[in-house]
Symmetry: C2
Amino acid sequence: MQNFDLTILGCSSNSYFKTNPTAQLLNIAERFFLIDCGEATQIQLRRYKLKFQRINHIFISHLHGDHYLGLLGLLSSMHLLGRTTELHLYCPAELQEIIEVQYKHSETRLNYQLVYHHHNYKNDEILFEDDKVVVTTIVLNHRIPCCGFKFTEKPLLANITKDTLAYYKIPVEQILSIKQGADFVSNDGTIIPNSKLVSNKATPRSYAYCSDTCYDERIIPFIKNVDLLYHEATFLHEKADRAKETYHTTALQAGQIAQKAEVKQLMIGHYSARYKDLQPLLDEARTMFDNTILAIEGENTKL
Amino acid sequence: MQNFDLTILGCSSNSYFKTNPTAQLLNIAERFFLIDCGEATQIQLRRYKLKFQRINHIFISHLHGDHYLGLLGLLSSMHLLGRTTELHLYCPAELQEIIEVQYKHSETRLNYQLVYHHHNYKNDEILFEDDKVVVTTIVLNHRIPCCGFKFTEKPLLANITKDTLAYYKIPVEQILSIKQGADFVSNDGTIIPNSKLVSNKATPRSYAYCSDTCYDERIIPFIKNVDLLYHEATFLHEKADRAKETYHTTALQAGQIAQKAEVKQLMIGHYSARYKDLQPLLDEARTMFDNTILAIEGENTKL
């Protein structure tokens, strides 16, 4: 089965020095998607021996510093280390202005093309699509415009075993159509139904990334049944007022969202600097949704 | 004697991952001056247990990312951790534009005042002055406008020992004027010359920071006889052409500058990522100026 795994590069909210601010690297079938890029993300990529020149797509959820301040350093290192492959940046339109004003004053000319794709923020939209993956936005509810991202595998082709190919004498040129669902007509005219030829195909997997947002059930249709939901859980619920005021979520609320959206697994993160011990956040989320894990810097989760 | 010491927070040019990009913390008589602020400087300050809320003055030499990309993260953490004391930023005028466009889009309002002081770049000027320290600029020669900074102690007051105070029965209210150079008239009318009263006062110390620049002897009058000169030495001299092309300096040239300026000690830094071993850079600089040291991340040098 093709790769589908997530590495946490940073999972703190701003000023939490024990871990880095938010950044994640998602690998789906050797497409490397960088999701948010807090300060020192390039150092984290190097620390965990993740080759950053393989990243061709960077997604920035919103313009709070803990989600994008590492971007210019990374773009610059990509340039200095010889990149020529174009890089796609899915971001608020204002980020282009922020980057361009800095490139103007530093007289920077990158050796590769930076291709901007702006979010619209108002409704979910397709940001990226190829033969393996589709990436859509999730409209979030934060103090400034913010969106999450949902990464979904394209329907996978079914498998045909070698034994089946040999038994029915299936010619090579018909394999793809059978994998796509066709029946097979053997030399004697017998129709072999597709269900007899292929093994159960794997269900496409999906990952939803909900960075900074207050508790908002309007996201549920967009994250329904995903295999893994990352949802921020900045505070314990005893700080629910503070969470509301700052447009963040409590661990309890993140668990509620996971429960209502019937996801398979919940990962919480974006911890406030006040929590030196993360166990109470995990325990609290689990009161609502048992299959919850903590985002931990450097850890890789396979879907 | 009052403190005068320098801590290296980062000393690499961009993309050199083994150390951080340029940032230094200079302490003169409990004034904490941050000099340049490459990415992850706030992490470095924390790593070396340097309390960053004591920094009231930040000097940015120029707008290449390896010298300023850590600034917004640091300013944000200062804010989030409760700072109310005003912060003075000595920088290119364009940096204010870069900061303000980001604060506009992130809707950031700092809880403390950020006071901008723009360089003029064209001639040396006084950027900061109080009763202990004066900071002046050094016009450098780089691809984009760039200046260094010279930090000089104000003339120090002389010392009077307790024994001298007791022997001549000097009243408390006359101590300051004697420290400043006055003679003393004793009760019987005898004039005691100042030289008999005070011990030799220390010579004011000075530190010159010359960040990115090509070899340019025009800086020599401005750094003449300083106690410590930091001068970039991005390349070995075998890369002199590359140094010239990129407006940088070789280790040999840094040694030449130190020799001609008759400084007491030279510290080299801003190493290119190509040098995994820094000893050849040190050896080369020492062929021109023996009292040379390497900038090493985390090391503290007392003047």
